[in-house]
C-alpha cells in the first residue's frame, strides 16, 4: 500500500476519534484540572488548592466507606458471577431436555436496566409488604429492615447485581466450554479420570482465557456499579451503601464540591486502569495450550 492510500484510509477514523476526544478525553483532562480547585460546580469563583482534594480523600470517612463498598461490589459480584456463571454453564452444557429454556430465562434479566431491577427488587426487600418479609412472617420470624441497614443493604446490592447479570457470564463460559474439542474429554476418560478429575485437569486449564475475560469484565463492571444502588438505597442509609461512582455524583450535585468530586473520579479511573493492567498481565501468564 502506498503512502497516499494509507493517509486517505486514515481519514475514516477521524469522526470516531473526534467524538471520543471531545466527549471523553477532553472531559477527563478537564476533570483532572478541576480536581486542583475548590469549586461549587457553577459559580465563577474557583480557588486553586493544589492537591488538597486528593489529601482529603482518605481523611473523609464517607469516601473510605464508599471505597470499601466499591471493593465489595467489584470483588463480590466478580466472584459470585464467575463461580455461578461457570456452574450454570456446565449445567446448561450437559444434556437434558429444556436446557435452552433455562438458558433463555437466566439471560432474560440482562435485558432489564439496572435501575429498573433495583426498583423491582424493592417489591422483594421492602420492610412492609415486601415478599421476603412476608415469607419470613409465615415462618414466624420478625420482618427485617433489609434496605434500612447498611450491612444488609450492601450484601443485597451485591447479590442482586450478581443474580441479574450472571447470565452474561454463563454465556461466556458456555462459549469457552464449547470450544474445547471433545477428543480431550474422551482421551481423559480413556485414561480413567472421573468427572471431577476431568474438570480439574482438562477443562479448567483450558477455560483460563474465559476466566480471565469474564473475571476482568465482572470486576470492572462491579467497580463501576451505580444504577442499582440509586434505585435501591440512593447511597443510604447514612451514606453506608455508596459506591465511588454514586459518591462522585453525590459530591458534585448534592454537596456541591465539584473539585472534590473530580478528585474522586481521577482516583477511580486510575484505580481501575492499574488494576485491570495487573490482572491482564497475571492471566496472560496463566494461559495454557495443548
Amino acid at each position: 500500500m502506498n503512502k497516499k492510500r494509507r493517509v486517505q484510509m486514515n481519514i475514516l477514523y477521524i469522526p470516531a476519534v473526534t467524538i471520543i476526544a471531545v466527549f471523553m478525553i477532553f472531559p477527563l483532562l478537564r476533570g483532572f484540572y478541576i480536581s486542583f480547585f475548590k469549586w461549587n460546580g457553577y459559580s465563577s469563583n474557583m480557588i486553586f488548592v493544589g492537591i488538597e482534594n486528593y489529601l482529603k480523600l482518605f481523611k473523609d470517612k464517607y469516601f473510605c466507606v464508599a471505597l470499601g463498598n466499591t471493593l465489595l461490589y467489584g470483588f463480590g459480584t466478580a466472584l459470585l458471577q464467575n463461580v455461578f456463571g461457570l456452574v450454570l454453564a456446565l449445567y446448561v452444557n450437559s444434556k437434558f431436555k429444556g436446557r435452552n429454556v433455562v438458558r433463555t430465562c437466566v439471560y432474560i434479566t440482562v435485558m432489564v436496566s439496572g435501575l429498573l431491577m433495583g426498583y423491582i427488587m424493592k417489591f422483594f426487600f421492602d420492610l412492609n409488604h415486601g415478599i421476603i418479609n412476608e415469607i419470613l412472617q409465615i415462618f414466624g420470624a420478625d420482618p427485617v429492615y433489609w434496605l434500612g441497614e447498611g450491612k444488609y443493604a450492601r450484601i443485597i446490592i451485591t447479590f442482586v447485581t450478581s443474580w441479574q447479570y450472571v447470565g452474561s457470564y454463563m454465556i461466556i463460559y458456555l462459549a469457552g466450554l464449547q470450544n474445547i474439542p471433545s477428543m480431550y474429554y474422551e482421551a481423559a476418560k480413556i485414561d480413567g479420570g472421573n468427572s471431577w478429575q476431568v474438570f480439574k485437569n482438562v477443562v479448567f486449564p483450558l477455560l483460563i482465557p474465559s476466566i480471565s475475560t469474564a473475571g476482568i469484565q465482572g470486576l470492572i463492571s462491579g467497580l463501576k456499579l451505580n444504577d442499582v444502588i440509586i434505585a435501591l438505597t440512593k447511597g443510604g442509609p447514612v451514606m453506608s451503601t455508596h459506591s465511588l461512582s454514586t459518591y462522585i455524583s453525590f459530591s458534585y450535585f448534592d454537596s456541591e464540591s465539584a473539585g472534590y468530586a473530580s478528585a474522586i473520579g481521577i482516583f477511580l479511573f486510575t484505580f481501575i486502569f492499574v488494576l485491570s493492567g495487573i490482572l491482564n498481565k497475571y492471566f496472560q501468564s496463566k494461559e495454557v495450550s495443548y
Binding site: Y13, G31, S245
Partner: protein
C-alpha cells in the same frame, strides 16, 4: 433393548437437573411476573405482591398513556436509541477499516488510545462531561445524550468491527487495488457488504444499552418533556414513598422492558453471539 435401557438410566440421572431448571426459571421470571401483575392491579388492591390481581384493570395503562408522558418518553427513547446505534455503526465500521488494515505505528497508538478510552468509568469524568455539556448548551437536548453515549460506546463497536475486518482476506482488497479501485471504493463495495453479521451484533448490543441507559440522560435531561423511558420510570418509582403510585410505575416499566424482551426472545441467537463477541479482555 439396549437403547431403551440407556434412555431410562439417562432419565433417572437427570431428575435433579429438572428440579434445578424449574427453580432457576422461577427465580428469573418471578421479578418480571411481579412487575406485570402489579401493573394490572387496581388502586385498592392491597394483596401480596405475589398474588394475582383481585380484578384485572387497565386503568394504570390508560392513565399513563392519557397523561402523554409515556408517548413523549417513548419518542425520546426511540430518537436517542436509533441515533446512538446509527452513529456507532457508521463511525465504528469506518474507523475499524483503517485500524485493522493499516497497522502503522501511528495507527497502533490510535488503536490503544481507543481501547484505553473503553476503560474510563462513566462517572469518573462526570464533572468534566457535565460542565462541558453546560458550556456547549446541551442540557435538556437529546443530541448531548447521543454524543456522550456514542463516545462511551464506540470503542467497543470499533473493537468488534476490527476483529471482523481482520478476518476478511486482504487479497480481496489487493485484487481491487490492482483493478484500480480507490480506498473509499474498496471500503464501500468490498468491505461494507460483508459486515452484516457483526453489524447485527453491534446494533443489538448498542440498542439494548441505549434503550436502558440511565446515567448521563439523568444528568443531561432535566426537563420532564425530554425524559426517556428509564427516566420516567425513575420519576414514577423514585418519588417520595407516601405518594408513589406503584401500579402506574409498574405499567411504565412494563412498557419499557417488554419491547426488549420480545426482541430478545425473537433474536436470541444474535444476543448470545453479541455477548460472546463483546467479551473484551
Amino acid at each position: 433393548m439396549m437403547k431403551e435401557k440407556k434412555v431410562s438410566t439417562m432419565k433417572s440421572n437427570n431428575w435433579w437437573k429438572y428440579i434445578v431448571g424449574v427453580g432457576l426459571i422461577i427465580m428469573y421470571l418471578l421479578p418480571i411476573y411481579v412487575l406485570v401483575v402489579m401493573s394490572f392491579k387496581g388502586k385498592g388492591d392491597y394483596g401480596s405482591y405475589l398474588a394475582l390481581p383481585e380484578k384485572i384493570v387497565f386503568d394504570n395503562y390508560i392513565k399513563i398513556i392519557k397523561s402523554g408522558k409515556v408517548i413523549s418518553a417513548l419518542k425520546n427513547t426511540a430518537i436517542v436509541s436509533v441515533s446512538v446505534v446509527a452513529l456507532e455503526v457508521i463511525f465504528g465500521c469506518m474507523a475499524a477499516y483503517p485500524l485493522s488494515r493499516n497497522k502503522s505505528k501511528f495507527n497502533q497508538y490510535v488503536n490503544s488510545f481507543i481501547m484505553a478510552a473503553m476503560m474510563i468509568p462513566a462517572l469518573s469524568i462526570l464533572v468534566g462531561v457535565y460542565t462541558e455539556i453546560v458550556k456547549l448548551g446541551g442540557i435538556n437536548h437529546l443530541w448531548a445524550v447521543v454524543f456522550v453515549e456514542v463516545a462511551f460506546g464506540i470503542p467497543l463497536s470499533i473493537y468488534l468491527y476490527s476483529n471482523f475486518i481482520s478476518s476478511i482476506p486482504k487479497a480481496l482488497d489487493e485484487a481491487a487495488t490492482v483493478d484500480g479501485a480507490g480506498v473509499f471504493r474498496i471500503f464501500w463495495s468490498i468491505i461494507l457488504p460483508q459486515l452484516k453479521p457483526v453489524t447485527v451484533t453491534v446494533m443489538i448490543l448498542k440498542g439494548v444499552g441505549a434503550w436502558n441507559n440511565y446515567l448521563y440522560p439523568s444528568y443531561i435531561l432535566q426537563k420532564p418533556s425530554k425524559y426517556t423511558l428509564v427516566l420516567l420510570i425513575k420519576q414514577y418509582f423514585g418519588s417520595s414513598s407516601s405518594v408513589v403510585d406503584l401500579n402506574s410505575a409498574s405499567a411504565v416499566a412494563v412498557l419499557c422492558v417488554m419491547p426488549l424482551i420480545i426482541v430478545y426472545l425473537c433474536l436470541q441467537k444474535y444476543f448470545i453471539k453479541g455477548q460472546i463477541d463483546s467479551a473484551v479482555k
